[in-house]
Symmetry: C2
C-alpha cells in the first residue's frame, strides 16, 4: 500500500473531485497534445508523397494544406456546438448513439477506440524514432525506450488529471513557443526580403521532378496530410473534466488548440515554399525531417535548434497522452451502457478511470512489442478510425438539431459532416491498399464484441432479476458433508459448525496414498459417538472413500453428486476446514485441496450445494 | 483430460503397480544411463588435463583409469550390500539418516539432490553440444534443443517407469553394443599386431610435451576422471521399482551396469595407448573427441562410425534420465519425513512421483536457460555432491554393520567409505577454485531449507493436534452478514440460506459509484419486512455503507471487524451470493468481489468469521 501511495499518490475521496478539475492552461496539454503534435508530422506526410514532383511539389503542397486547414476550421465550429449540446461529454459515441441509434453509436465508439489505441503506439514510436535518429547509439534500445515512455505516461495518468496536466505543460508550451518563434522570424525575414529569404543553413537542393502532378497523387498527399486532424474530438469528449463553468472553458480550450494548430500548419506550409524546403526520402541516406531543415534555415543550428527539436521529440512521444485522457472516458460510457464490464465505469484511487488507463496501456504495449517499437506500418490505419467517428458524430449532430428544429446549427454540423465524410472517403480509398482494410475488419469485430458483452449482461439480468419477496428456508435441514482429514482442531471446528446446520452429517474421509484414516475410525466411539449420545443428538455418519487412482477430488465429488441426486429436495452443505497460514509462502507447503474442492463443486454441482470454509488460523 | 490421456496415457489404478515394475533389461536404461554415459566423457576429461605432457600423458592415463576402475569395483561391492540391507530403497539419504543421524542424512540428501539437478542440465547440454559440433548450423538453436530434449525426457518419465525403460532401451544398447564392438575389434587388431596396430584413419599426431608430470597435475586428472563415477548409486536408491524378487534383480542390474562401465573404461584406456590417441584442446581449431578419433582409428569413417557417434550423442543427452528416476524418489523420502511438502510423496496418474519429476524439470530448465544451454561451468560442481553422498552412505553402512555386529560386511563398506572419502577430498581440493565452493554454499542452504520446512510442519502439528472429542455449538446463534447487491434471485437465495443460520441477520449493501441501493431500501417493507412478520421471525436489518473512496472491500471489512469486536462470544457468518457462469471467459465480465472478499476476510478476521458462498448458476 505504501508503494502505491508513493507511486500514485494517496487515495482521493469522491468529494475531492472538484479539486481535480482543470482549466484551459492544463486542458491544452491534457487534451491537445495529439492534435498539436500533428503539426510535426502532417505537413511532412503530405510533402513526402510529393517528392516525385520535385520543386513543383511545393506549389501543390500549399493548396493541400489550405484545404486541410479549412476542414479543420469547419470541424472546429461543429465541435464547439457539440460541446454546448452535450456538456456531459459529447464524444462521437454518445452523439451518434443518441441521434443515429445504438448500432451507429457502437461503430463510432469502436472506430474511436481503435484510433486511440493506435495513436498511443504510433505517437510513442514516432517520438522514439526521432530520438533514435538523433542518437543512433540508442537504436538497439528502441523497444525498451518505447515501453519506458508508455509506463511513464500510464503512471502520470493514473496519478490523476491534474498531475498529467502539470507534467505535460512544459513540453507542450516549449513546442508551441519555439515553433511559433521560428515561424514568426521566418515570416518577418521572408517579408523583409520580398519573399525570397536567405536561409542560414541552406536546405539540400530538391531532387529533380520524375513525375507530373496527377489527381491521384494529389489526393494521396491530401489523405496523408489529413493525419494532422486526429485528436480534434478530444475536448468534446471530456467536457466534465473542466472547472465550472465547464462549457465555455472547454470551448476556449478547443479554440486555443485549433487556432494554434492552424497557425502552425499554415506557417510551416508558407515557409517551406519561401525557403524551398521539400521532404527527403525517409528510407534514403541523408534523410532529414522537414521541420529540422526549416528550423536550421530560419534560425541556424545553434542551441535554439536543439531546444526546438527536443521539444518536438517530446511532444511526439507524449501525444499518446490525449488517448489516455479520452479512451478511459469512452470505455466508461460503453460500460455504463453495459457494452463493457462495470469496472470501466468506476473511478480508481485518483478519481480517474484506472481500468481504462491500464487496458489502454496493455493494448498499446502489446502493439509496440508486436511491432518491435517501429509502428510505421500502422500509420495508414490511423486516420480512418478518426474520420469515421468524426463523420458519424457530425451526422448525429445534424439529426440532433433537426429534431430540435434549429436549422442554423444544422447547417454548420451538416457542413462538418460533408467535409469529414468526403475526407473519410478520400482517405479510405487512397489508403485501402496500405492496410486500411484492416480497420474495416477490426471495427466490426469490436462492435460484435460489444454486442456480445451486452447480450451476456442482458441474459444475466433476465436470469437473476426478480420482484418476489424473500423466501423462507424449506422445512428439511440441509445434509452436511464435512471434508475431514485426520482428527484435529480443524476437523473439530468444522464438525462444530456442521452441528449448527443439521442433524444429518456425513464426516467424509478420502483414503489416498499419504492420508491415514484409522485415527478417526478407531476412536469414533470416544471422539464422536459418546458426545453425541450425551447431548442427545443424531450420530454423525463416518464415510471412508478409497480412491483406486490415488485422487482426493474425484471420489469426494462423486459422493456429493450422488447425495445430490438421491436427495432432490434438500440442500447440501459441504463444510471444508480451511488452514490459514501467516505468510503466503507457507501456503506452498500445504496442498490447497480446499480451494480446488470449492472450485470443482461450484462448477459441477447445482445451486443446492453450498460450500462453507471454516477457518483455522495458524499463529507464529 | 483427453489431451492429458493422449500425452501421458490413461490414469493407472494403484492396483496396477505390479505391472509397472521392471527387470534388469529395462533397469539398465532407466538407472544406468548416467553411469554408462560416463564412458564417453570420463576418459576424455582425464586425458584433457594430460595434454601438456604430450605422448607421455598416455602413459600416465592408464594408471589413473586403473585406480578409477578399482574404486568403482569397491563402490560396486558396497552398494550391492546396501541393496540387500535396504530393500525399500537404500539411497544415501536413508542409509546416512538411519545410521548417522538425521542431520548427516539431510546433508547426503541435499548433496544428491544438487547432483541430480546438475546432472540433468549438464547431461543434456553435453549431448546437444556434441550434436551442435557435428552440425554447426544448429548452433543458434542450442538452448531450444536443450529444452526440447528436457521436455521429451520429462514427458517420457511422466508416462511411467515402464515406458521410459522401453523408450531409452534402443539408444542404450546401441551405445554399449557399438562401443563394445569397437573395443573388441581394436583389441584383436592390437594383439594380432603385437601391440602396435595400424589405424584405419590415423589420429592427429600428439602435441609435443610442454610440461613434465607433477603430482598435482596427475591428481587433477584423476579428479576430472572421477566424474565417470557419478550415477553409480542410482540402483540402490530405486530397489522398489524392480519386479519380485527385487533384491537379486536390482543387484544383477547393478552388476551389469558396473561391469559394462569398467569394461568400456578399461578398453578405451588400453586402446588410446595402443593407437597413440590423446585428447585435443576443446577450445582450439581441429578439436576432435577422443572417442571419435578412437572409432575412426579402429573402424574407419564409414556408416559404422556415424552410427556409433549418433549413439554416443543420444546417450549423453539422455543420461539425464537417471536423475528423473532417482530425484523424485529422494524427494518422496524427504516428504515422508516432512522435510518437503506431502505432494512429493504422492504418485501421479502413471504411478510415478509426478511432482518430483516436474520440479526437477523446472529447476534443470532454469539452469539451462540461465546458462544459455552451455553448462561447461557447472561440470566442476558435479562430482562433489555425488562423492559426498557416496561417502556418507558408505560410512552409514559401516555403522549399520557395526550395530549388527557383522565385521566382514563392515570391512567391505569401510573400504568403500575410505575410497570414496579420499576421492571426495581429492576432488574437492583440486576443483575448489573452479567453483566447487558453490556446492559448499548450496548444500547447507538446502539443508537449512529442509529443516525450516520440517519446523513449519511441526508447528502446524502442535497447533492443530487434539485428542479432545467433538464440541457442541454455543447456545447463541451466529450473527449473519449478507453481502447484498440489488434485490435479485442471488440476494434472495443468500437471504434464504441466512435464515437457516440465525435470526440475527444484517443485509449489507455498499454504495459505490456504480451500485444502486434504492431498489432494496425503497421496497424493504414489501420484500423483507412483511414476509418476516407473516412468518413470525425477527426482522433482518438493512445496513447501507457508503464509501468516500469508492471502494467495496474496505467498508465491508470494517463492518465485519466491528461486529466481531463488539460480539466477542459469537460466531459471524458472512454469506456471499456467488454468480457462476457457464464459460470461464464470461467470468471476466463480472467483478470477482466475492472471491476477493473471502480472501480478505480470511486474512484479516479471526476463526470466528466463517465465509459461505451461496451459488447461483447461470444457464446458457
Amino acid at each position: 500500500m505504501a508503494l502505491l501511495d508513493w507511486l500514485l499518490g494517496r487515495r482521493l475521496a469522491t468529494l475531492e473531485e472538484e479539486h481535480q478539475h482543470i482549466g484551459p492552461a492544463a486542458g491544452i496539454p491534457v487534451l491537445g497534445l495529439d492534435a498539436l503534435s500533428s503539426a510535426a508530422y502532417g505537413p511532412e506526410a503530405a510533402l513526402t508523397l510529393l517528392i516525385p514532383l520535385g520543386a513543383a511539389g511545393l506549389g501543390a503542397a500549399l493548396p493541400i494544406l489550405a484545404i486541410i486547414c479549412a476542414i479543420l476550421a469547419i470541424v472546429y465550429v461543429s465541435y464547439r456546438q457539440t460541446i454546448a449540446a452535450y456538456p456531459n461529454g459529447g464524444g462521437s459515441y454518445t452523439v451518434a448513439k443518441e441521434n443515429l441509434g445504438p448500432h451507429l453509436g457502437l461503430i463510432a465508439g469502436a472506430a474511436l477506440a481503435v484510433d486511440y489505441i493506435l495513436n498511443v503506439a504510433v505517437g510513442i514510436s514516432a517520438g522514439v524514432g526521432a530520438l533514435v535518429s538523433a542518437f543512433p547509439a540508442l537504436l538497439p534500445h528502441t523497444l525498451t525506450l518505447c515501453l519506458a515512455i508508455l509506463v511513464l505516461i500510464t503512471l502520470v495518468n493514473l496519478r490523476g488529471l491534474k498531475e498529467s496536466g502539470l507534467a505535460f505543460m512544459l513540453p507542450t508550451y516549449a513546442f508551441v513557443g519555439t515553433l511559433a518563434a521560428v515561424i514568426l522570424v521566418g515570416l518577418v525575414k521572408s517579408i523583409a526580403s520580398g519573399g525570397s529569404p536567405e536561409p542560414i543553413v541552406a536546405p539540400p537542393a530538391m531532387a529533380p521532378a520524375v513525375d507530373v502532378a496527377t489527381a491521384w497523387l494529389l489526393v494521396k498527399a491530401f489523405a496523408s496530410g489529413c493525419t494532422a486532424m486526429t485528436g480534434v474530438e478530444a475536448v468534446s469528449n471530456a467536457v466534465p473534466i473542466f472547472k465550472k463553468p465547464a462549457i465555455p472553458l472547454a470551448q476556449r480550450t478547443l479554440t486555443a488548440i485549433i487556432a494554434l494548430l492552424i497557425a502552425l500548419l499554415a506557417g510551416i506550409g508558407y515557409l517551406c515554399r519561401a525557403y524551398h524546403i521539400g521532404a527527403t526520402d525517409p528510407g534514403a541516406a541523408g534523410y532529414q525531417s522537414v521541420l529540422s531543415m526549416l528550423i536550421a534555415a530560419v534560425a541556424g543550428r545553434g542551441a535554439f535548434y536543439y531546444i526546438t527539436m527536443g521539444a518536438i521529440v517530446a511532444v511526439l512521444a507524449l501525444s499518446a497522452n490525449t488517448s489516455f485522457a479520452d479512451f478511459p472516458r469512452l470505455c466508461r460510457l460503453l460500460a455504463e451502457d453495459r457494452y463493457l464490464p462495470g469496472a470501466f465505469a468506476e473511478r480508481g484511487r485518483r478519481l480517474v478511470f484506472s481500468t481504462g488507463i491500464l487496458v489502454l496501456a496493455v493494448l498499446a504495449g502489446a502493439l509496440l512489442v508486436a511491432f518491435g517499437g517501429i509502428t510505421d506500418k500502422l500509420i495508414p490505419l490511423f486516420a480512418i478510425g478518426a474520420f469515421l467517428a468524426f463523420t458519424l458524430s457530425q451526422a448525429g449532430m445534424v439529426a440532433h438539431w433537426k429534431s430540435l428544429r434549429m436549422p442554423r446549427f444544422m447547417v454548420i454540423n451538416g457542413a462538418g459532416a460533408l467535409a469529414t465524410g468526403a475526407t473519410l472517403v478520400v482517405v479510405s480509398v487512397s489508403k485501402f491498399g496500405d492496410g486500411a482494410w484492416l480497420t474495416i475488419v477490426v471495427v466490426p469485430l469490436l462492435v460484435l464484441f460489444f454486442l456480445r458483452v451486452n447480450r451476456h449482461y442482458r441474459v444475466v439480468g433476465q436470469q437473476v432479476a426478480t420482484i418476489e419477496p424473500m423466501e423462507m428456508p424449506d422445512r428439511a435441514d440441509p445434509i452436511v458433508v464435512l471434508a475431514a482429514g485426520s482428527w484435529s482442531k480443524m476437523t473439530q471446528q468444522g464438525l462444530k459448525f456442521s452441528l449448527r446446520l443439521s442433524d444429518d452429517i456425513y464426516v467424509v474421509q478420502v483414503k489416498t496414498e499419504t492420508s491415514t484414516t484409522e485415527e478417526l475410525s478407531d476412536n469414533w466411539e470416544l471422539l464422536i459417538a459418546n458426545p453425541a449420545r450425551r447431548n442427545r443428538i443424531a450420530q454423525p455418519k463416518l464415510v471412508i472413500l478409497t480412491s483406486q487412482y490415488r485422487q482426493f477430488l474425484n471420489p469426494f465429488l462423486e459422493f456429493v453428486r450422488d447425495l445430490e441426486a438421491k436427495n432432490p429436495d434438500r440442500d447440501i452443505c459441504v463444510v471444508i476446514p480451511d488452514l490459514i497460514v501467516s505468510h503466503w509462502y507457507e501456503g506452498l507447503l500445504h496442498n490447497n485441496r480446499g480451494s480446488f474442492l470449492r472450485l470443482i463443486l461450484r462448477a459441477q454441482c447445482s445451486d443446492r450445494v453450498v460450500v462453507i470454509h471454516t477457518p483455522f488460523h495458524l499463529h507464529d
